[in-house]
């Protein structure tokens, strides 16, 4: 029996017998004894909550291997964990706030039954212990090469995904098959599903519009290809050229993700709109008539390109760096021209990166809501349709669910295509054999192409940000260019009073709450995302593909639907966490995790598996291997997922609209409120502050994580960079 297993059993008991089993009644005043023993399951159980007592049985079962160690320890542990979990789940879901939750039970027992509130620390701790005991037991029986860390990781990640993705999402998707009063009605689904506004193809042969599904798909494909191409251009310039303004380019390329939604759209209107700056110039100087071309597909496309290129860049830069120079050299020694080498060796080796970047761009575009809202014009996409099906005049949750299913199907399709395209080929380029190659300079053609796409784009981004910056400091963008600090003062006034500083600006509350949530969710997201990537690439277990798709699920569903589903799922026992900051954190973690997973997978598939195995045979456990071998080689992916999740927690809107409370109001809902009220200046000023904060955060993350050392030979004759610090 390992010490870790023993510790878990102790924790299981602590959760059952010491800590409060239930969450607290929100209006009660609490005594110390409520926290210890008094509120525990044991105490409740002895005081009449009889349904808690059976949990004692598996807890006792877990003790057997401690007292009589034998070769069947694993079986005992696994059984104890399984029974414990099952009992808690059964008990939690069958008894709710108002008695029995199942009608069958109600009619069977005939009285309304006992009631209980949501789980608290005790129940959470005990369930978690049972889960991990189960995993330890399975490891002891030889699952996953007997590695308890791996089984536990798989168990925990699956449990989290089930609780925070499958459970809420299935509650809402079920409503696709229900009529308005909640009865099962599959025919309703068919009718809604086959609606002409979804699948119509009238635009091909008339001047009518096409169905919203085609619009969405088309936009998604465009954006996926566009962001991947741009991201690749940026990544190639950043890693393979000595372009002088590389650093600037890098900053430019990540700026857009740190921009709150609506702001890019707004800036685009201020530039390209009918009264926009550029349109004015074109009209006055060249007589180009003003038009509204920006509203519709072009505008949404440009805005999404701006917004999602950074993600592609972040995924691709690690991949481009990881390509083994030797492979390229090998190709060159085979008389391939540098262009041919690039085309036949370098590019194909980037496939995992390209595929993952495309998948992310595509899915992001599908789920994006802010940009189509502002710039969509008459070009309708699923995400806005879904949003207004929930909150619009129709109030048709079933319709939202049907549309979400279509969106999900697209994601599933993209995911499947990606798998098919990558196939079973091997993309390992970071191997345990020292790579003596020297990275090739880019072929001229590629370099030029990269410059010609990336540089104008960077300049354009710069323009957009100049507009944003100006917007923050003038009274009213587009009308009144008097310089002013008024917006900042309204939002971020700080008064010094006798008792110290008083943050009287109207934005401070949401600002602090947002910082708190973002700072908490970013490391969690990165950790869970990379762990998942590791499990998916390095371990083999059944149901792996379904598991992988599960991680994409919450990402692919529009935020509005996720938000509503979180309320439906988590507003009632057993898991009652609405109104807390915790639900916001979890929502962000599971919405943003896919970026960590994708970039992790892209990077890991380049790293030779035998590096991990070498570490294992040298006596390092999986956890140690992870820390000392995998993570240092994964640095680009870590940066990508940390940055992305931090930033997303600060800029996401739609998912949180339903989850914010008075206490946990988020910056973006505040900004959206300002935009709705027409106070663009204030919105932009707040966004500027957020952008600055996020820039600092990104720099800090980059510094904290550091660069990856691949020990590649460099073209210059300088001694190895590693040599300097080999010996302390």
């Amino acid at each position: 029996m390992s010490r870790a297993t023993l510790g878990l059993i102790v924790l299981g008991w602590v959760g059952f017998a010491l800590l409060p089993w239930y969450g607290f009644d929100r209006n009660a005043s609490l005594e110390f004894s409520d926290y210890v023993i008094g509120g525990s399951a044991l105490a409740h159980g002895l005081r009449g909550a009889w349904w808690l007592l059976p949990v004692l049985a598996p807890l006792l079962m877990a003790l057997r291997p401690v007292i009589f160690p034998s070769s069947s320890n694993g079986t005992w542990l696994a059984a104890s964990g399984f029974v414990g979990l099952a009992l808690i789940i059964l008990e939690g879901f069958s008894i709710g706030l108002n008695g029995w939750t199942l009608d069958a039970l109600k009619s069977f027992v005939s009285d309304p039954g006992p009631s209980q509130t949501g789980v608290g620390y005790g129940a959470a701790l005990t369930s978690a212990s049972f889960l991990i005991i189960l995993c330890h037991g399975l490891a002891a029986r030889g699952w996953c090469r007997g590695d308890a860390f791996v089984t536990s990781s798989i168990g925990v990640v699956i449990a989290l995904i089930v609780v925070f993705v499958f459970f809420p999402v299935s509650t809402i998707l079920a409503s696709a098959f229900a009529d308005n009063s909640g009865n099962f009605a599959p025919s309703e689904f068919i009718v809604k599903f086959l609606d002409r506004s979804i699948w119509g193809l009238d635009c091909l042969w008339g001047d009518l519009r096409c169905g919203v599904a085609w619009n969405t798909l088309f936009l998604g494909l465009l954006v996926g290809v566009g962001t991947t191409a741009l991201g690749l251009a940026f990544a190639l310039i950043a890693t393979r050229t000595d372009f002088r303004f590389k650093k600037v380019l890098r900053v430019m390329s990540v700026l857009p993700i740190i921009t709150p939604p609506f702001v890019i759209g707004l800036a685009l209107i201020l530039i390209f709109g009918r009264s926009g700056a550029l349109s004015a110039v074109l009209w006055e100087w060249f007589g180009v008539p003003r038009s509204r071309w920006i509203y519709g597909l072009p505008g949404v496309f440009i805005a999404q390109l701006l917004a999602f290129t950074p993600i592609a860049f972040l995924v691709l830069i690690g991949v481009v760096q990881g390509i083994s120079p030797t492979l390229e050299e090998a190709s060159q020694t085979l008389r391939a021209k540098s262009w041919t080498t690039f085309w036949t060796v370098t590019l194909p080796l980037m496939r995992p990166g390209l595929a993952n970047a495309f998948l992310l761009g595509f899915v992001e575009s599908l789920a994006d809501f802010g940009n189509p809202l502002v710039l969509g014009g008459n070009y309708e996409v699923l995400s806005t349709k879904i949003f207004f099906a929930v909150v619009g005049a129709q109030q048709d949750q079933g319709r939202a669910a049907v549309l979400s299913i279509i969106l999900l199907a697209f994601t599933l399709g993209a995911f499947w295509l990606q798998h098919a395209w990558l196939g079973k080929k091997v993309y390992t380029t970071v191997t345990g054999k020292g790579d003596a190659g020297i990275p090739l300079p880019l072929p001229r053609r590629v370099a030029l192409a990269s410059y010609f796409t990336a540089v104008p784009w960077a300049v354009f981004t710069l323009g957009v940000y100049a507009i944003i910056l100006v917007g923050a400091f003038v009274r009213s963008m587009g009308r009144d260019y008097t310089l002013t600090l008024e917006h900042f003062l309204t939002a971020f006034r700080v008064e010094s009073t006798g008792a110290g500083l008083y943050f009287s600006g109207s934005a401070w509350d949401s600002f602090f709450a947002t910082m708190k949530v973002a700072a908490l969710s970013a490391p969690l997201t990165a950790a869970i995302g990379l762990l998942t990537a590791y499990l998916l690439t390095r371990q083999r277990f059944s149901g792996q593909r379904a598991f992988e798709f599960g991680t994409l699920l919450s990402f692919a569903i529009p935020g509005t639907v996720v938000g509503v589903s979180y309320i439906l799922a988590f507003n009632v026992p057993p898991i009652e966490i609405t109104g807390t900051g915790f639900i916001l954190v979890m929502c962000f973690v599971f919405r943003n995790m896919p970026v960590g997973v994708r970039s992790g997978i892209a990077t890991l598939s380049q790293i030779d598996k035998s590096l991990d195995e070498a570490s294992l045979t040298l006596g390092a456990r999986s956890a140690t291997t992870m820390r000392r071998v995998v993570l240092p080689l994964l640095r680009p992916a870590i940066v990508a997922s940390l940055v992305y999740s931090f930033v997303r927690a600060m800029t996401a809107v739609s998912a949180v609209i339903f989850l914010v409370t008075a206490e946990y109001n988020m910056a973006t809902t505040y900004i959206v409120g300002r935009v709705e009220a027409g106070e663009f200046g204030l919105a932009i000023a707040y966004s500027t502050v957020l952008i600055v904060v996020m820039l600092f955060a990104i720099v800090a993350i980059q510094l904290a994580v550091g660069e990856r050392r691949l020990g590649r030979r460099s073209a210059s004759a300088a001694p190895s960079p590693v040599a300097v610090q080999a010996i302390p």
């Binding site: 969450g23 607290f24 929100r26 209006n27 620390y121 506004s197 008339g206 001047d207 009518l208 209107i269 201020l270 709109g273 009918r274 009264s275 509204r292 509203y295 809202l373 969509g376 014009g377 806005t384 207004f388 929930v390 909150v391 619009g392 005049a393 109030q395 949750q397 009213s476 587009g478 009308r479 009144d480 708190k516 908490l520 490391p523 509503v564 309320i567 439906l568 507003n571 009632v572 009652e576 966490i577 609405t578 109104g579 807390t580 900051g581 915790f582 609209i657 339903f658 914010v660 409370t661 008075a662 206490e663 946990y664 109001n665 505040y670 409120g673 300002r674 709705e676 009220a677 027409g678």
Partner: protein
Amino acid sequence: MKLKRNFVAATMLAGTMAALSFMSAGAAQAQGALVMYCGVQEEWCRAMTTAFERETGIKVSMTRKSAGEVFAQIKAEAANPRADIWWGGTGDPHMQAAEEGLTLEYKSPKMGELQDWAVRQWEQSKNRTVGIYSGALGFGYNTELAKSNNIGEPKCWADLLKAELKDEVQVADPNSSGTAYTLLATIVQLMGEDKGFEYLKALHKNINQYTKSGAAPAKAMALGETTAGIAFMHDIVTMVVDKAPVKVVAPCEGTGYEIGSMSIIKGAKNLENAQKFYDWALTADAQKIGAEAKSYQVPSNKSTPVPPQAPKLSDIKLITFDFAKYGSSEERKRLLSKWDNEVKNLPK
């Protein structure tokens, strides 16, 4: 090495503590003795909250959302309601919540002080929601663009059909916006259903964009993105007050209006305080706050001073709006799908 490990452990501990403090945060939140969902502009919401706190000492936890969002949230939370009162936001979702039994009946002692339309809505909703303000539908135009495009001064709904305004009118999509649905219902009531749809089809030729949000046309006018826009007049007034070159028009044929409402949520944990707020929010003193917060709707308490910027109700020809009929979900679904099929999908 050792140090580093301690550091890591300390960070993890701190992280866990923070996470734990998060989980119980809900407890603190609900200590506040009134939880309110607010459906108007942030500034107005805040001003109301502070004023009520100052007056009664009851702490208010306020969350601002659009009316549709609040309705969706209340519906989702029905099994275990979180909020006590829903104040503000257009009346339709309030009516719908009443229809679905998500809100409570209540008769305030202040009912006598209210305008007729407010009382009528209260009766139509079977005492579940009450009007707190109203705003008339209208349109506006950007004076600079109107001059350069030689459009003149549109005064009536009919003027919006002028050929000069081709691609120059903006209005929201009634599927997503209550404002636009109000327009749909208004036109149908004003002209009759057949004529009304003829009008909307004609108008369709001049529409450059059906926006998602109801107030968006007002903003687009202010920015010069469209010449004319249909919205609630108070939303356009906000732009005018912000010095945008925009003029508000009360259509000569008459127009419909919305009633901003208030409801007590069924299952409210702080019912008594919710009722206290309900009574207070109907007083003239409380309703005065709107104008101070730059919202120019017409208050429902007869003795509330009407803000000078607000469009004078006396200058506006209001129709008798049948909220019960046009607020019911059946009629709404019928009209919306008719609009979808007959108007929206029309080629231009």
